[in-house]
Amino acid sequence: MTSSCRQISPLLEAFGDEELAADKLLEVEQHLVDCDTCGERVRLNQALHVSVRSAVRAAAPVMPGFEERIAQALRAEALREEAVDTVVEREAQHSRMLSWRSVVPVAAAAALTLVWAASTSKQQAQNDGSATEARLNTADQLLEELVDHHMSARGPQVTEPALLSQLEPEVGVPLTLPSLKAYGARWEGANVVPVNNQHAASLRYTMGGRHVTLYVYNSTRVPIESRLTARTVRNEHVYVGTRRGVSIAAAEHRGVGYALASDFNDDESAELVAAVY
């Protein structure tokens, strides 16, 4: 190796990568005209470059079906985005009229008024009865379905929190995992369950050996509050009731509904559901 080679050698790699500054490029090219050894180094570097590229590409072909899998995942993500945009837009429309904190108590009061009216005024019940009855029947059916799912021992579809977002397209609302660790709850997994011809995410927890199911759903499509009692926990409006020995506590936040099924008492259920968002 000549002294000239010693100066040029450190530049050969950047020369091969076409990253050399113009003045150095000229210097290297002039040297290569007369130096076979450095010329051979450049050719060997190039051969290594070609071989690495072909070995890596040959080792990782895009297998049949993988492209379709990715396309489906991206389309599901696009649907989820659309669902979120819809929720945000609806919320914006609502906030232009009244904030949900105002709307929910008013709606609850209206529902209670209807219930009260139904029990005290036969005539009025006949006028409003059909709509109210339909609403109550729907709420009854929803509560029954939530209790059924809570009692069933179906295995979870998803056990990794990072994969919860895969359920979002079916459920139609953003899904984040409430930890509830402060209450000693341990998350076991999640499913999608049918509720009133819609879908809700069913998140299963255990707390001291007791099972807790937290349903997350589009609150406009799964109205269950009319069969529950309104109460306030830490300035949050929640609705609580018991069905077949299972306590159900529900709340709504930014268009997302949360319903918690457990064998806790109503106070405990209300406390828990107020902590999920």
Binding site: E19, A47, L48, R69
Partner: protein, 218 residues
């Protein structure tokens, strides 16, 4: 001048699918496992889809996706950053340090394909997988994806000088291992040292002989 623009989900899907082969190649060499590589690519593209309004129009979409892929890999598989494992063996490049003749280097190449001899090429993937991750990633991004030093620096989150150092050390290790392999296969014979002999290394002293000398002196 680059600017951030929001591209539609459909447009993003088209552009992302076009980069699938490149992403899978890099992911495979990072994870060294085909199933993990596929999961890594899927995670990367979903993250990129959610963050596509951050993509700057006019810049390299492949480099942007590879940066997300590298970060996803580090966060998911290597919470402490890229693995800095130490490869056994000399950190010297006999092919660049003037030890090996031009004719020996030439015998390692296949003149027709402009690549290494097929018998050596077969070993490349294995040797590449044995490199420390940060060297392996630099070599793959440069030699396979043909990205610039600047783009590799952006992806790896380090200065350009560090990229050059990682590339140099990665290739040096690769070539050293390939040269050993070529000798084992008889593709190249024993090489007399060439070049400046004043830089010839001192022979390694045998420990038992050294002890015997010490005992004899005492």
């Amino acid at each position: 001048m680059s600017r951030k623009v929001s591209i539609s989900a459909r447009e993003f899907e088209t552009q992302a699918i076009a980069q699938l082969s490149a992403l899978l190649g890099v992911a495979s060499r990072l994870t060294r496992n085909p199933a993990d590589a596929q999961d890594l690519v899927q995670d990367t593209l979903l993250k990129a889809m959610r963050a596509r309004d951050q993509f700057e129009a006019g810049t390299n979409m492949r480099a942007w996706l590879l940066r997300i892929l590298t970060n996803t890999f580090i966060n998911r598989y290597r919470r402490g950053g890229l693995e800095r494992s130490v490869l056994d063996g000399p950190d010297a490049d006999p092919l660049a340090d003037g030890w090996i003749s031009a004719s020996t280097m030439e015998s390692m190449r296949d003149p027709e394909s402009q690549a290494l001899r097929p018998m050596l090429e077969k070993e490349i993937k294995r040797i590449l997988d044995e490199l420390p991750e940060e060297f392996r990633l630099a070599v793959v991004l440069s030699d396979v994806e043909e990205l610039s030093y600047k783009e590799i620096a952006d992806i790896m989150g380090c200065p350009i000088g560090t990229v050059m150092s990682r590339l140099h050390r990665g290739r040096r290790l690769l070539k050293g291992r390939l040269y050993e392999h070529a000798r084992a296969l008889g593709i190249v014979g024993p090489e007399a040292l060439v070049g400046d002999t004043s830089e010839k290394q001192e022979p390694v002293i045998d420990l038992s002989q050294y002890r015997e000398k010490r005992v004899a002196r005492s």
